[in-house]
Structure formats: C-alpha cells, structure tokens
C-alpha cells in the first residue's frame, strides 16, 4: 500500500478495483439522471436507464388491421388481410421473433408462416409485412394479435431540453426560473465578497480596540443556524417595506454568507507578508490604497474560493428563497423551488423532472469542474490550519 512496503500485484489490483467500485457508486446516481434526461417519457417507463445504452430487446403486441374493414375476398370462401404490422407506429429496430399467442413468445422467425389451425395462417416478414388468411369465420371480428420480439437501437433525444427550456407554452418551464436564479446568485455572491474583504482586511491588518472580540464573534456566528433568522427577519423586512423580493434575498444571503467569508479571507490575509504592507505604508500609501492595490490582488485565491462557495450555496439554496423571495405572484420562483413543485405535480413524468433537475445542476457542476482547485483550497483553509 505504501511505497516502501512493496507493491504486490494482488494488492494493487484489489486497490484499483475497490476505488473503481467506489467511483461508480458515487457516479451512478447522477449518471442515471443525466441519461434519463435524454430519453422520452415512454422510453423511461419502458426500461431502466441503465439498459438504454445498449440495444434494447422488448416484446411488443400489435393487432393486425381490422378484418371487417380491410379483408379481401379471395373466392372459395377464403379471405385475406394484408398490410404492414408497424403501420401508424413509429418504429426503429429489427424484428427478432414473433408469435400469435403469449404462451411461446418466440415461436416463429420473420418470414415463417404460423398455422393457426383449420386452414387459418399468418405470415410475418422482417419488415413488418404480413398476410393473414382464413375462412369467413376466421377473418372477422377482432383482428389477430401479434407478439413481437424487437430489438431497438439506443435512442436519445433533445426534445426534453427543448420543452423545458425553450417551449413558450410550457408554463412549468425552467427558463424564467433560470434567470431568476441568476438574478439572486450574482449579487448574492459579489456583495458579501466586497463587504467581507474590507472587514477581513480591517480584522487582519488594522489596529483598533475590540478586534479580538470581533474575530471571536465571527467564529461564533459561523455555526448559527439560519433557521433562527427566518421569522425575525421576515417581520423586519415587512416592517421596513422590503417585503419579499430580490433585495431581501440578497441581504439575507449576504448576512448568512458573511461569517465564512470574513473568516476565510481574514485567515488568508493574515498570512500575507508583513513587509509588503509596511513598505507601502512607508511610501505613503493609505489603507484604502494598500487594500485595493496590494491586498485584493494578492488575495485572489481566497476570494475565488469563497466566491465558489457562495455561488454554489446561493444557487442550490431553497429555504432562503422560499422565505425571503418567492411570493404568491409566482414571478420570482427559482429553479430549486420549481423542481420541488414539479416533484409534487409531475411526480411520475421523469423526463420532465430529470431534465429540469439537470438544467439546474449543470451550471454548478461546470463551475465545480472548472474551479475545483480553488474550492479545495478554500475548504482546507476553512477547516484545517
């Protein structure tokens, strides 16, 4: 396991396999949603998403054309119905086997003729063309049922995304919620960074009475559950006339994000070399100049880490938006709320649910993979020192 103990092949294999299993276990849930969002509703309910990557074998049941309408008199008391079994159906794939009763589903190969007794016959070709022949009595009433073993190739579609994002008639679409979420997230990320950066600089490099106390207070407030803030702040917002809206939700996110922001940024700024700051002071730079010209550029990694945290947290938030933003008008719904609504109203329509959910997690995932380095750095700065 550890370099020096030697690498036994068996151990290395076991190690690799167990990590592969772990990774698959963690990847599978998201993959399921991702794959499902590219399938139609019928496909999703017909088979599990894991089988959609391979050609799917399924049994379908179709009736031949109605004999009373379409039978042809052959003379001698014999009648015939001719046609294509897939008429009127969208079908892609190949016919493997077929049957006329459910007892043995793969009784015949394509091109074979089934003897239904008393001279009644049914012939089905690979392309779906069939001939059903028999006497007056047999070729009447209900049409013959045909059970078919068909293999359909993997089939994915973008129509769900079209419907969820671009369909103007879809009142449950995500486009509006997407913009609303962006409107919440961008200021709710930038404002706390601005405020916290100034405060963190003051706490790290300026001398004033009460500094230690303030730092302790920030550490304490780090863990205060935001649940406590809901009612008092909502009453406050109502009392001062902000009510429910973007301003309220920005302020709330700013307040809730600040302790972590100040904590992370201060820890980082304290570690910056003292010489640079003192040299700048000797050269006559004011605190404001030092902050904007030296500290801010140098603190970029810490600013980036917090920005990612706050972005993920505000984008993914449900509770704060529910309490401070979303009113009865329905104009200010965010994506998380929209998905919860869909879970209630369209619980079984997995194609809509999966696509909507994936639209909402795609942006954070992209940010995550692009900025992972900063995220990890921020986590480490926040918890291990």
């Amino acid at each position: 396991m550890d370099g020096i103990s030697g690498q036994k092949p068996a151990v290395v294999w076991a190690l690799n396999i167990s990590v592969v299993l772990l990774v698959l276990l963690w990847l599978f849930p998201t993959l399921g949603l991702f794959v499902s969002s590219f399938r139609t509703g019928d496909q999703i309910t017909a088979s599990g998403w894991w089988s959609s990557m391979f050609p799917a074998e399924q049994t379908i049941q179709i009736r031949a054309a109605d004999p009373d309408d379409s039978r042809v008199d052959l003379g001698n008391g014999r009648f015939m119905v001719e046609g294509n079994i897939f008429d009127g159906q969208e079908f892609e794939g190949t016919l493997e086997a077929w049957a006329t009763s459910s007892r043995d589903l793969s009784a015949f190969q394509p091109g074979e003729t089934a003897d239904l007794g008393d001279g009644e016959t049914f012939t089905l070709q690979a392309d779906g063309a069939y001939v059903w022949e028999g006497n007056d009595d047999q070729i009447s009433g209900r049409a013959q049922r045909v059970f078919m073993d068909v293999v359909t190739p993997p089939d994915f579609t973008l129509q769900n995304y079209n419907f969820v994002l671009f369909d103007e008639d879809n009142s449950e679409g995500m486009a509006k919620a997407f913009f609303n979420t962006l409107t919440v997230v961008i200021p709710a990320t930038i404002i706390p960074i601005l405020i916290a950066a100034f405060a963190a600089y003051a706490l790290a490099w300026m001398d004033f009475p009460g500094r230690a106390l303030l730092i302790a207070a920030v550490v304490g407030l780090l863990v205060v559950p935001l649940q406590l803030a809901l009612i008092p702040l909502l009453s406050l917002h109502n009392a001062v006339g902000i009510g429910k809206g973007y301003l309220g939700v920005w302020l709330a996110h700013t307040g809730f994000g600040l302790p972590l922001a100040i904590y992370l940024l201060r820890n980082y700024m304290v570690g910056l070399p003292r010489d640079i700051i003192e040299n700048a002071k000797v050269d006559g730079a004011s605190d404001f100049q030092i902050f904007t010209k030296i500290i801010l550029p140098l603190s970029f990694p810490a600013l980036a880490s917090f920005a990612i945290f706050q972005f993920l947290w505000t984008w993914n938030d449900l509770l704060v938006a529910l309490v401070f933003l979303i009113d009865a008008s329905g104009q200010t719904t965010v994506m998380t709320k929209q998905i919860v609504e869909l879970l209630g109203t369209r619980g079984g329509d997995w194609e809509i649910l999966a696509t909507s959910a994936f639209v909402s997690i795609a942006v954070p995932l992209a940010v995550f993979f692009a900025m992972q380095k900063y995220l990890v750095r921020g986590l480490l700065a926040g918890s291990v020192k």
Binding site: V23, S47, A216, P225, I231, L318, A357, I361, P364, L380
Partner: protein, 335 residues
C-alpha cells in the same frame, strides 16, 4: 421587460451601491473630514486612521448583527410568545415548549434528528477517510477524488430528484426503472418496495442522500491531512513489522484525529440543519420528520410563530456546544 435585462439592471444597482459606499466613504474621510494637509495634518491622519477600521467594518458588523446575532435573541423572545389576533404578542412562558414536547410529531422529529446526527457524520467521515486512503497513492487518484467530490456541487433538491429516481417503485408486472428495486428483484426480492414509505428504514434512505453529498467534503480534507503525516512515522512502523491495517489505524488515524474531529463537527452542523432533502422527498410523511422541516411546517404552514421559534431554539441549543468549542479554540489560537 425581459427578465434577463431586469436582472442585469438590479445586479448593477446592488453591486454598484456597495462599491459606491466603500469608495465614497473613504473619499469623504480623506478629502473632506480629515484632510492630511494644512496645520493639523498629523492629527487629522491619526484621526482618519482611527475611524477607518470602523468604516471598513461597518457594513459587515451591521449585516452580521442584523442577520445573525439579532435573530437569535428575537427568536428566543418569540419562543415565549403566542401570537394573538391582529398580530398581538402575548407572553406565555414555557407553554410553547411544553406543548411542543407533548406533540408526537415533534418527538418523532427529535428522534429522527438524533438518528441523522449519529449516522450521517459517522458514515460520511468514514467513507471520506476510506476514499482518501484508497486514492492516496493511486495514479488516477485525482480523477477518482473529483468524482466522489462532485456531489458537493449538486443542490439538495437536485440530489432529491436523483435519489427519487433510484428509489422509484413501479407495479410488479412492468419493468422497474428505479435501480434499487431492480437490484432488489434481481437478487431475490419478491415484490417492488416503496422505499421511502417503510417507517424507520426510510430515514436511512434519506440519509443516503446527505452522505452521498458530504463524503466528498470529508475526503478532500482528510486526504490533505493524510498527506501531511510525516513519512518517517509510517516508515518506522513498517520496519517494526506493522501490517497495513495497523499502520492505518494505529499510526495514521491518531495523527489526523484533530482533523477528523473538525470534519465530524462540520458535517454534524450540516446534518442538524437538514431541510431541503426531507422537504423535497417525503415532506416528513411516513415518520421521516426532522426538526428543520418541523419548524418550517409550524412557521409557514400552521403559522404558529411561537412553536416554530421554540423548535428553532432547539436547533440552536444543539449547535451551542460546537459554537462554544469553536470560539474557545479560535481564542486559544490567537494568543
């Protein structure tokens, strides 16, 4: 107006206002109130420097005070009150608390929360430690870590949809589209199960969501801690004939114990506040209620501010030991 333009507009105002404050107030301090020129230049510079920290801190202190500190006390106050007709508040003492403790749904939420608090931090930290150790010396370890870490970026609501698809149950005679039921039936189960409706066990199916999300966090931090272990201690143990398990449990784990504790408490806090998962997946039905969702129910569905605040205070009470411990450590470090 198109929502995108409206959004852009509001963004500019919000962010611009914030920038204007810092720039303007500093300008005011330096150019108008205490000019660093003239006969009183020295005194003015000193005064400006005394005020400036507070200028920098003011928005932060206001926001922290108003949005985090004040609500703690306001909620405490509200938890002793009963909202009467017309928004009047009457003092009722501990009645909200006694009434709450008498409610079966609250006891259920309390008990479930304890279950969450025992299971989730332990499982997430355990899996995280396992993942960190396994991927440590692997050539493709970083890719593996990325994938285990990825759920961190997914919202609780998104994760709820993801796991609902996993737990989906369909009638016995049609194909199962939830992978759990598919596996269950493949390996000898008799009929599809509604996993989220089996009391007691359904809690664990909900917890799986949070464990799935939090494991990556634990892994990242513990993996950094494992890398920080001095190589010599491990080498010495190997020379003394320790097997890999002894090295892991007796040499490595004790050295990163403080980090494990930090990870554990951080996940504990996240677990205590769990709301979205339960709200989106079961909404507390089938005996899966938790405190945060109970509180939301009381506040916004039953409109009972007294009991809602009382249950919020219970959450606060459970966080307090961690709060005190954090502050104590921070002060110790600063000295």
């Amino acid at each position: 107006m198109h929502p995108a333009i409206l959004g852009l507009f509001t963004i500019i105002i919000g962010v611009g206002g914030c920038l204007a404050y810092f720039y303007g107030s500093n300008l005011l301090l330096d150019k108008v109130l205490f000019k660093p020129t003239g006969p009183n230049a020295g005194r003015n510079i000193n005064r400006a420097n005394m005020i400036r920290p507070w200028l920098f801190l003011l928005p932060a202190i206001l926001a922290l005070g108003l949005y985090l500190a004040y609500p703690v006390f306001a909620t405490l106050h509200l938890s002793f009150m009963e909202r009467g007709p017309g928004g009047r508040l009457d003092f009722v003492g501990l009645e909200n608390y006694t009434q709450m403790f008498a409610e079966p749904k609250f006891r259920e939420a309390m008990w479930n929360n304890v279950l969450w608090l025992i299971t989730v931090p332990a499982a997430a930290t355990g899996f995280g430690l396992l993942a960190a150790q396994l991927t440590d010396r692997l050539s493709w370890g970083n890719i593996a870590k990325s994938i285990v870490f990825m759920p961190m970026a997914i919202s609780f609501v998104g994760a709820a949809v993801i796991f609902k698809l996993i737990y989906e149950a369909r009638p016995e005679d049609v194909a199962q589209i939830g992978i759990l039921n598919h596996l269950y039936l493949t390996f000898g189960g008799t009929e599809p199960q509604q996993w989220l409706q089996i009391p007691f066990w359904n809690n664990f199916f909900l917890m799986a969501v949070l464990i799935w999300i939090q494991t990556g966090f634990a892994m990242v931090i513990l993996s950094a801690a494992l890398r920080g272990i001095p190589e010599e201690t491990v080498e010495a143990a190997i020379i003394d004939g320790a097997n890999p398990f002894q090295i892991f449990f007796k040499i490595k784990v004790p050295q990163i114990m403080s980090t494990i504790v930090v990870v554990w408490t951080t996940i504990t806090i996240a677990t205590l506040k769990v709301f979205d998962i339960v709200f989106a997946m079961t909404n507390g039905q089938w005996e899966t209620q938790v405190l945060a969702n109970y509180m939301y129910d009381k506040l916004f569905r039953a409109n009972d501010w007294g009991m809602g605040s009382a249950s919020a205070m219970i959450i606060m009470l459970m966080v307090t030991p961690i709060l005190v411990w954090n502050v104590y450590n921070a002060r110790k470090e600063m000295r």
